[in-house]
């Protein structure tokens, strides 16, 4: 059975009298250990589909099964805890918490899951930051880091609970090409270590590097 199974997935947004169908019956299987790039023009439904996989948005129809769990049927708090344990998410604008240091930002998902003692959490957060090459920036606040460094902290945070899946929503969209390349190397390395990596991108270079490509247009898969 595929790690991620999307079946007849539909999502309709309603704004006032307007209805917009962002996903129109998507079926998709992603196996464990794949490196998948989701591409397509703006408004094609890439981010919406990613949001379904991470459970940060609910489908209007269909099902989302991840590692055997029907996450579209979970309650909000259960889903939050599931997400913390199983999915690591990296966004375009980093979304670090400005009042927390790099180390504290990375410790936060473990705090929510109450994993290990505080000392163990600190140690794991350090290791995670070292993995992304920021072992010397642990006490820095986001305001003291460059964009690339902030994104690395976001990746360290996404990895710290050792999730099965790492998901990036245009993770390099706000980075220069050199940093983008370095970031992909990191994703590639993680994938080689067995992590399932899925990202949405507008960058042709980044899309080309993925071992699997999923293309979307008007809320439907063109190529999977």
């Amino acid at each position: 059975m595929a790690l991620i199974q999307l079946r007849e997935l539909r999502k309709t947004y309603k704004t006032g009298k307007l209805e917009f169908e962002a996903l129109r019956g998507v079926d998709l299987d992603i196996e464990e250990g794949q490196l998948v790039a989701i591409v397509g023009p703006s408004g094609s439904g890439k981010s919406t589909m990613l949001n379904m996989i991470t459970g940060i948005d609910r489908p209007s129809g269909g099902s989302v099964t991840i590692a055997g769990d029907r996450i579209d049927q979970m309650k909000e708090d259960t889903l939050a805890a599931w997400r913390g344990a199983n999915v690591g998410i990296v966004f375009q604008f980093f979304q670090l918490f400005p009042t927390l240091t790099a180390l504290e930002n990375v410790m936060l998902p473990m705090d929510f899951l109450r994993r290990g003692s505080v000392a163990e959490r600190r140690q794991r957060a350090r290791e995670s930051l070292e993995l992304v090459g920021l072992g010397d920036k642990v006490e820095h606040l986001p305001s003291e880091l460059s964009g690339g460094q902030q994104q690395r902290v976001a990746i360290a945070r996404a990895l710290v609970n050792q999730p099965k899946v790492l998901i990036g929503d245009e993770p390099t969209g706000n980075l220069d090409s050199r940093t983008e390349a370095a970031m992909f190397e990191l994703f590639d390395e993680l994938n080689k270590q067995g992590k399932t990596v899925i990202y949405v991108t507008h960058s042709p270079a980044l899309a080309a590097k993925a071992r699997h490509r999923v293309e979307m247009i008007d809320g439907q898969l063109v190529q999977a």
Binding site: R58, F91, T99, T101
Partner: protein, 798 residues
């Protein structure tokens, strides 16, 4: 409607909850201004009552003057006289609850034909013969409650009793005022007065005049006097003629002073609401940074942006001020009606004080626009590039010392740490929230302490008095009350001791003080705790008393008002002139508002040239049971009257109870006002949290993305809210002390009330509990929003 005006209007409807909160705050602030309408409304209502009763311009008191119909007609047609009416008053005693109390009977010749000082029968039948109507103030002021068909038994000065039937309820502004001093007032027929007193004639002649100029009225008084002297048995008026200036009524000055203090509180409310308005406008501007940049990008000038936001704030001002002015009208009317009912016993009609409404609207709009200006000016500084590039969660924390200091707070769960640090992100907003909370805590602490001070004042006024009854007799040089009388009183059933005293009024530097001559070994005053334990001097010695040495113990208020210290010599101005007294003690007890002087009885008798005569007794009763005290007071009164003295017996527990009730009412009113301040502040705190949650919607989404449950999100924001509330509380403690000092000073200057400045620790603790509980309650509403957000919606939030 232009596109710009439409945008301003729609900006308000975008965040409905916040707009509603802000409008409510403005409305409450503006409503406070409405309290200034109470005094003119009350004045209008009283004037209407006075007009309805055809209140006299000149009232003269005479002793039982019979006047024929012709003489009355002649009096009514004297120069400058418009109308006149005669009445006959008789002071009697009546038994109320086992005590003998004073009662005033007012005889009206013809209820259907009253030209001046009209007594209105509001229910029941007009009294005839041995019938009375009870003044509505009798019940309103707790003097005596009677129903139609009840009987009252009065005792005339010759101790004969008479029974009168109550036929209804009546009212009269002038006579009814006596009920506030515990005197029962009844209106009856002239026949009844004659039958009870055994005398004929009138005691009160009331006139209205055509020309109310003071000089003209003074001349008219002479004309009346000349007529009476020439045509009747009158040789002189009993008292100075009561000449009333146009618009004057008893209690007007104190009433407007109390209202002034309410007004100060109202301004405080408005001041507090300013913070919230400034916060709201700041947030509207912050949220619209990208829109402002976009407006500028498509050609909007700074003036256009300025106009757009000015319109938004003016709209808030108009709506809030409109609602507030409406509420102000309602509250002013309700407060005025309640006060009028309590004080004067009548239902004030609904009225609107339009100038106050106009001011409320102008101030409301003006204040909102003014509070918005800093935020609006900030819009002008938004650069197009920065504005358009604002995305995601801003990483702008950590640049200030405060940020760094808060990062050193250890040992708290991560989410709590986030909350505490978040408080420093919008520093302006947090500071104004802290100030609001501090201000509310300060006002509540000051008002609670102030209320306590009122109650303490009352207790201080009565607790040191260890007597149960105080008998005072009119000074009669032909029948001085000497030592033997004390023995007679002491021999009465229920009397444990009767201590001689001479009480009079003296002046120190033109300030009236109560001067009491006490026996040296007094049992009537517990000065040991209020004087001796405080180390502020001493009581006089038996030797000083025996030698009538002029030494004096004065009240602390007098000492402070007149800057008198121990060892100083003060001049006591008495009926026999000024006499020097050395100050040997300053007593902290609070009778007479602290404006008193105690001296050896012998010294007081000497300076007043009274020999060994006294004019009263402090009586301690054998039992502390109210019934027994009442019965004893009656015996004392009878005994003294039997000896030929006109005696007035004061019952301590009764006067103390009345004083406590009055002060509690006043304190309650101030406390109510302070709760409006608290209400606004709670709305302010809630609004701050709502705004913070809106600001950080993306962060909430992100927290959910990385595994935060509802309780984690709740903890972040409740820690922030509680942290701000706690800081506000800490700042509120010294501020409360200052507000209390200002309050005490204002009372001293305005109302001549020397209140003890208290700062009770219990209120410090109580205010902490209130602050935290209040904060928890109000932040629970925005927290619901924070925890119910879907992570996807929150992440997409712009």
């Amino acid at each position: 409607m232009s596109a710009l005006l439409k945008k301003s209007w729609k900006d308000l409807s975008r965040r409905k909850a916040r707009t509603i909160f802000t409008i409510i705050t403005v409305a409450l602030g503006v409503m406070g201004i409405g309290l200034f309408a109470i005094t003119p409304l009350a004045d209008g209502a009283v004037q209407a009552e006075l007009n309805a009763e055809k209140m006299h311009n000149i009232g003269v008191r005479v002793t039982d003057v019979p006047l024929t119909a012709e003489q009355l007609a002649e009096l009514a047609s004297l120069d400058n006289i418009d109308r006149m009416s005669p009445q006959a008053e008789l002071l009697v005693t009546i038994e109320i609850g086992g005590r003998r109390e004073r009662a005033l009977l007012v005889g009206i010749p013809d209820y259907a034909d009253q030209a001046v000082d009209v007594v209105r029968v509001t229910s029941g039948e007009v009294p005839q013969g041995m019938q009375v109507v009870t003044d509505q103030g009798n019940e309103a002021n707790g003097v005596i409650t009677l129903a139609e068909g009840d009987d009252i038994t009065v005792q005339d000065p010759a101790h004969a009793t008479h029974q009168l039937l109550v036929t209804g309820v009546g009212k009269n502004f002038i006579h009814g005022a006596a009920t506030r001093n515990g005197v029962a007032v009844f209106y009856t027929s002239i026949d009844a007065i004659e039958q009870i007193s055994g005398r004929t004639g009138f005691t009160n002649l009331s006139f209205t005049v055509k020309d109310t100029d003071p000089a003209a009225m003074a001349g008219t008084v002479e004309v009346i006097r000349d007529y009476l002297v020439a045509n009747t048995s009158v040789v002189a008026f009993d008292n100075l003629a009561d000449v009333r200036e146009e618009g004057f009524w008893e209690g007007r000055e104190i009433f407007s002073q109390i209202m002034s203090y309410m007004g100060i509180l109202a301004l405080m409310i408005l001041f507090v609401s300013l913070f919230l308005i400034a916060n709201t406008m700041n947030t509207i501007v912050s949220e619209q940074t990208r829109e402002i940049a976009m407006m500028k990008a498509i050609g909007a000038t700074r003036a256009t942006v300025f106009r757009s936001f000015l319109t938004t704030s003016a709209l808030i001002g108009f709506i809030g001020a409109g609602i507030g002015a409406g509420l102000g009208i309602l509250v002013a009317f309700l407060v005025e009606r309640t006060l009028m009912k309590q004080s004067f016993g009548f239902d004030a009609p609904f009225g609107v004080e339009w100038p106050t409404v106009g001011i409320s609207l102008a101030v409301g709009v003006g204040v909102v626009v003014l509070a918005s200006l800093p935020a609006i000016f900030r819009t002008l500084r938004v650069s197009v590039v920065d504005g358009l590039e604002s995305h995601g969660i801003s990483a702008d924390y950590g640049h200030t010392l405060l940020d760094r200091a808060l990062m050193r707070v250890r040992g708290l769960p991560r989410v709590v740490q986030m909350g505490v640090r978040n408080a420093a992100r919008r520093k302006g907003r947090s500071v104004s929230t802290i100030l609001q909370v501090a201000f509310a805590v300060a006002v509540v602490i000051a008002m609670l302490n102030g209320g306590d001070a009122f109650v303490y004042m009352t207790h201080s006024a009565y607790d040191p008095w260890t007597w149960d009854l105080r008998a005072t007799v009119a000074d009669d040089s032909s029948n001085p009350m000497a030592i033997e009388t004390a023995a007679r009183v002491e021999g009465l059933e229920g009397v444990m001791s009767a201590e001689r005293v001479y009480r009079t009024v003296a002046k120190v530097n033109d300030r009236a003080v109560s001067l009491s001559g006490y026996v040296q070994a007094t049992q009537a005053l517990a000065y040991d705790t209020t004087l001796l334990e405080k180390g502020q001097g001493r009581w006089w010695t038996p030797e000083e008393a025996a030698a009538a040495i002029p030494v004096v113990v004065i009240g602390e208020a007098l000492s402070r008002f007149e800057d008198i210290g121990l060892g100083d010599t003060i001049e006591l101005m008495t009926a026999t002139g000024a006499h020097p007294f050395e100050v040997i003690g300053i007593d902290t007890a609070f009778p007479e508002n602290g404006l008193y002087a105690y001296a050896p009885l012998e010294a007081v008798q000497a300076v007043l040239q009274k020999g060994d005569a006294v004019n009263g007794f402090f009586i301690r009763t054998a039992s502390s049971q109210p019934d027994t005290i009442d019965a004893t007071s009656r015996r004392v009164s009878d005994a003294l009257e039997g000896l030929g003295y006109q005696a007035d017996v004061t019952v301590k527990y009764v006067v103390a109870g009345q004083a406590v009730a009055q002060n509690q009412g006043l304190a309650g009113m101030f406390l109510m006002m302070s709760f409006i301040v608290v209400l606004i502040v709670l709305i302010g705190l809630m609004s701050t949290l709502v705004m913070n949650i809106l600001d950080r919607t993306k962060e909430i989404g992100m927290l959910r993305c990385i595994g935060a449950r509802s309780r984690d999100v709740r903890l972040v924001f409740s820690s922030e809210g509680l942290f701000l509330a706690l800081l506000g509380w800490i700042l509120g403690l010294p501020l409360g002390y200052i507000v209390n000092q200002v309050y005490v000073a204002a009372m001293a200057i305005g109302m001549k009330l020397t209140m003890p400045d208290r700062y009770a620790l219990v209120y410090v603790g109580l205010s902490l509990v209130f602050t935290l509980v209040g904060a928890l309650i109000v932040i629970s509403f925005p927290l619901r929003r924070a925890t119910s957000m879907k992570p996807g919606d929150a992440i997409r939030y712009e």
